[in-house]
Symmetry: D3
Subunit: 257 residues, 6 copies
Amino acid sequence: MKILWINPVGTAAFDEYIGDILKEGSRSGTKVDVVSLAEDRPKHLESHSYEAMVVADIVNITYQNNKKYDAIVIGCYYDVGLREAREVSGKAIVTAPCQSSLVYASFLGNSFSVLVGRRKWISKMEENVIGYGYGRGLCSMRPLGLGVHDFQADRDKTQARLLDEGRKAVEEDGAEVLILGCTIEYGFHETMQDKIGVPVIDAVIAPFKLAELMAETAEKFGWYPSRKWGSEPPSQKEIDEWGLFKEKESTYNYLTD
Amino acid sequence: MKILWINPVGTAAFDEYIGDILKEGSRSGTKVDVVSLAEDRPKHLESHSYEAMVVADIVNITYQNNKKYDAIVIGCYYDVGLREAREVSGKAIVTAPCQSSLVYASFLGNSFSVLVGRRKWISKMEENVIGYGYGRGLCSMRPLGLGVHDFQADRDKTQARLLDEGRKAVEEDGAEVLILGCTIEYGFHETMQDKIGVPVIDAVIAPFKLAELMAETAEKFGWYPSRKWGSEPPSQKEIDEWGLFKEKESTYNYLTD
Amino acid sequence: MKILWINPVGTAAFDEYIGDILKEGSRSGTKVDVVSLAEDRPKHLESHSYEAMVVADIVNITYQNNKKYDAIVIGCYYDVGLREAREVSGKAIVTAPCQSSLVYASFLGNSFSVLVGRRKWISKMEENVIGYGYGRGLCSMRPLGLGVHDFQADRDKTQARLLDEGRKAVEEDGAEVLILGCTIEYGFHETMQDKIGVPVIDAVIAPFKLAELMAETAEKFGWYPSRKWGSEPPSQKEIDEWGLFKEKESTYNYLTD
Amino acid sequence: MKILWINPVGTAAFDEYIGDILKEGSRSGTKVDVVSLAEDRPKHLESHSYEAMVVADIVNITYQNNKKYDAIVIGCYYDVGLREAREVSGKAIVTAPCQSSLVYASFLGNSFSVLVGRRKWISKMEENVIGYGYGRGLCSMRPLGLGVHDFQADRDKTQARLLDEGRKAVEEDGAEVLILGCTIEYGFHETMQDKIGVPVIDAVIAPFKLAELMAETAEKFGWYPSRKWGSEPPSQKEIDEWGLFKEKESTYNYLTD
Amino acid sequence: MKILWINPVGTAAFDEYIGDILKEGSRSGTKVDVVSLAEDRPKHLESHSYEAMVVADIVNITYQNNKKYDAIVIGCYYDVGLREAREVSGKAIVTAPCQSSLVYASFLGNSFSVLVGRRKWISKMEENVIGYGYGRGLCSMRPLGLGVHDFQADRDKTQARLLDEGRKAVEEDGAEVLILGCTIEYGFHETMQDKIGVPVIDAVIAPFKLAELMAETAEKFGWYPSRKWGSEPPSQKEIDEWGLFKEKESTYNYLTD
Amino acid sequence: MKILWINPVGTAAFDEYIGDILKEGSRSGTKVDVVSLAEDRPKHLESHSYEAMVVADIVNITYQNNKKYDAIVIGCYYDVGLREAREVSGKAIVTAPCQSSLVYASFLGNSFSVLVGRRKWISKMEENVIGYGYGRGLCSMRPLGLGVHDFQADRDKTQARLLDEGRKAVEEDGAEVLILGCTIEYGFHETMQDKIGVPVIDAVIAPFKLAELMAETAEKFGWYPSRKWGSEPPSQKEIDEWGLFKEKESTYNYLTD
């Protein structure tokens, strides 16, 4: 099984770390590649206008790789481009962190909180949670006051903030499960689980493991993405005539397993 | 990894068939056992009062096996006893068909229909779908006019009915994904997929594969069920003093791998 | 008119008290019996797995008494087994505390809070309130930090806690009506009303009085429970063949008027 | 116990009939009066601008009678003026047909349809059903193509239409309970129940019986309307200074028991 | 273009001020008249029973003026009589503050808070916000502890309270936009915007400007109010026969431009 | 006042037509420019992956023009890039067809249907309608079986289809208002209104007129877009350092007034 993780940002800084986490967390036999974008792309996606700069890349990458990989993961907790990428993924499964972490939260407890970087993020993330149907279980979205590039820069500080807000989410807001609301909040969930005593869902692992599962069940049981109604792909004739999704592969930085 | 499938009915008639499906569908290394209930239990759960007769069994079995198995699956599309069993499952994951099939439907398409046996079933099943948060994507619940024991008794008729209602669900109601709304509707999803052209989620396989996934991630990442607030288990002291969950294991029919 | 109150626990400790409250609160001509369960049943239902141990009893009692009583009340604020019991109640009305108290709250004010025993209870009770359609009016569920057996053990303490949390529910959370979220919180509503100045709905009286009303209107106007679709009862043939709902009556402790 | 039924229209044509139904349906000891409005008021309330012409009357009557009656019923299925009348009802209970019939529907089945006079009515009535929290159970609102003054004018025709649409609501739309969506659809529910086999809630009886219940429990248990927050009444000082709610009693046609 | 502003209270005290605001805020070519009610009407509408006293006036004024004005604005943040007036407005547009301010809030930000006079008001206003579909964006309704007649009586105090609660709404509750929840909170939005730094929607200007827009587009594009189904007007024959909507014009105080 | 209409497709085919409609529909003094995208962009946006190809352009154009125009309109009924463009619009208002047409529908009637090109479109458009809060009023989304480039190619056929589905939406589905669910369905609303008799909202005019209104009120009353929380723009420092939003203006086809 082959899975592609997209870091939809114009920096390869996180590719190796995330690649290592995925390899360590994968089943035997799963091969994981990571791809990030050209340098002229935003280095993080905290702003929605930055997301706008990378959606085409996510779709291009998905289209170009939909036969090479069994599943593709969009590595941003805004789940940016999920609907758009799924449309052109052919038989490949596409997953994303927010939707996937909510599956875990709903199987492991009755309620959850999301620990996000900044208040800025809450508006869209809350809309996503409600859009996916999980609004009832949402206790709170607690901002850490940290940006994407802060999380790994000063890990002690990040951990302290996560523990502090995580405890409040559990004790004050009533969360039974915690979700880390950014893929770059990786590497903290174990300590948090030990100290707080509730499951803490990592935004890298959750969508990856669901991708792995769904890639397996696609092949075994034919549970490929629907291609009906809203999931209908664009016509190949138009794609060819208009020259769409042709961005050179070399534009993207592939880190292959 | 060890998984226990509960057929929460007073007949072992389906145990072998389901056991075989699970074994064939499992990852290498997964061991699957099946258990069904004593003969004085209802032979199906189409009536809610019948469900009432087996909830205690589901909880007893879960409590007694929560250290022997990594995950336990409740084999009824009403998801009977899911909250109750999860409370006493310790570190074992508990899954059930309705919640699990909805995860598949939401990852593979924008909308879905459920093909149920009788109109009788719709009221509670619809409430479950809405309760899990997936009401927006529900196009229809279409009854086949068949009971639990009819599905495998005349497979040709069942298949004809499934194809007929499945096509209507897609073409008239707008479903992008179909769900088979009873565990005993097993063995039909592949033909349906071939003929109708949309993914058809089987109610046996879906909760089993999610159980397998979540058992793996529990062990690997510590994502065990929350034991906080609403997920808090009963006190061991009370259980012991009151002699709860002590039903003799021999009451149940275990079919071990 | 004859009404049966089910105390669905393995203790008769509360039967007389509740019987007395009901008799005092009944219309002239209403006869009230109380039944509790065998000693091997849980002594309270704070845990959902405990509920699982008594659902069959609730259904058995309902089935066996549906011609002897005009209405049956399930005496637990989780409304445990309500759907299941209603299915086999024949022409008898079945009511339960949560649904009934919400009727009162919605007729007497625009918003309400529920004073529950422990945070543990909130998850399911909130789901029930939302499921019944009253989510919009719910200001808060405030836990008292007391268990079912504490409420009457130290009545002064209970009353102090109820007044404290009740006042906060009104003043801070905006509740116009208070609901006591456990049948064993009986005997406090009058003092609370005097001191806090809003209606305080008792979880014993509310479902009983609605049972009394609906039993009257069933007879007078033919408003018996629907037996269509989701309310269809199981087939008598199956019940007989499978020997269901046959638990010996002597298993249960009837306190007759 | 004394209950006042308001026919909020400028005709006394229905007063006697409704008075008789109420007397026949009341408990022993209940005294029922009926009041209708001055002749210059609309003769029916099918239009919302007509409702606007009578809201002041409903409030005036409620204010002037809130010490003379234990409960007051607003006799229009739009529940016109319910919030406004409740504000000035003092210790008297105020009920109305839509809210009350929904209580019955939700206790007697899982789903319901409302049989209304004209499509015109549906928009506001549906909004009310959703506003009260019962949207999930609503299968359909089926118009009969009849106006308020048609229902009793040609009873055979009305009955035929009710049976026809009622059957469709049950068989096609899935309703387990039927509600008659106008107080002037009185006198049909019994035949409908006999012929269709599901409970049929009459819009006169339902709010009256709930008024009777709540008047009883107000006195017995102190469950009077909340007077807090949104239920706070206007200041008596202002009422007096501004001369409000002073409409002469003789303006209204009281039919006393 | 001619627009009529209704001050639905029994005092002309605010007519000139509001008239001036409207004239200053109008497009060139727009003519604005203001009308208020007879002296025996309530001087404010904080109580719902007071609203009941003026709904007929609002409908009468709308009916009598629906050919003289292109649009009519109901000047109370409860949006009192909006459905009723729209029914008889013919080709004239009818707008009201709550619905209109929500349009602004949803175009200018993701979330909003409403600054209301008293807690009393919140229950109905919140119901309106939810009824219009904007519940998701509502962060809070913060009461100022001031009545309608306080706002302009001590403007310094009002401004201090508005700034205080407005800042809390933004900083604590997460509002991106503020709405002034009473038409008599006029004259404060500019200072608030300067000091708090978010858009502050004035309840006089918002419905007026939408009225102006919709009057323009009615004429230009034929976008007049629907007269179908729930928007169907009453029959002219009935209106004439029953003598409805005939209140003498001289009853009302018109302040013409 | 200056307004920019973005035709977010790689063809200028519709620019003049839409420009003319806007000029004819504008107030005196409004200047309207139209811009479309480079030829390598998709010629329509029926597929979500096509939307992904143009979001960056929409954001670039918005960023580059936010001081030159008072308002910017995104000309696609998917409202593609609305959140993203609003973030970088500075003081300029950004509107889009779906959100704007819903404002009209909600002011002109109680319910509405949307006439879309293909079933494919419904999934996302319905999600948008629900996301904006207007789900309750949505009667139906009826597909015409026509693509974006068909609407103007055979206008007789389009009109016939629109009349046919529009009538069904009104008569069968209960719509009081119709919305044309594509900007290229321009030029039909007047005939439809004449023939069907309900308001028909054009997807070009609605967002343009709201843009015009909000540009006016921004300047007059300071009602500029919020820049707080979720509406906070990206940091200028990052934009400059990373060279974002710098696409050459000459890439885009501006049709200036």
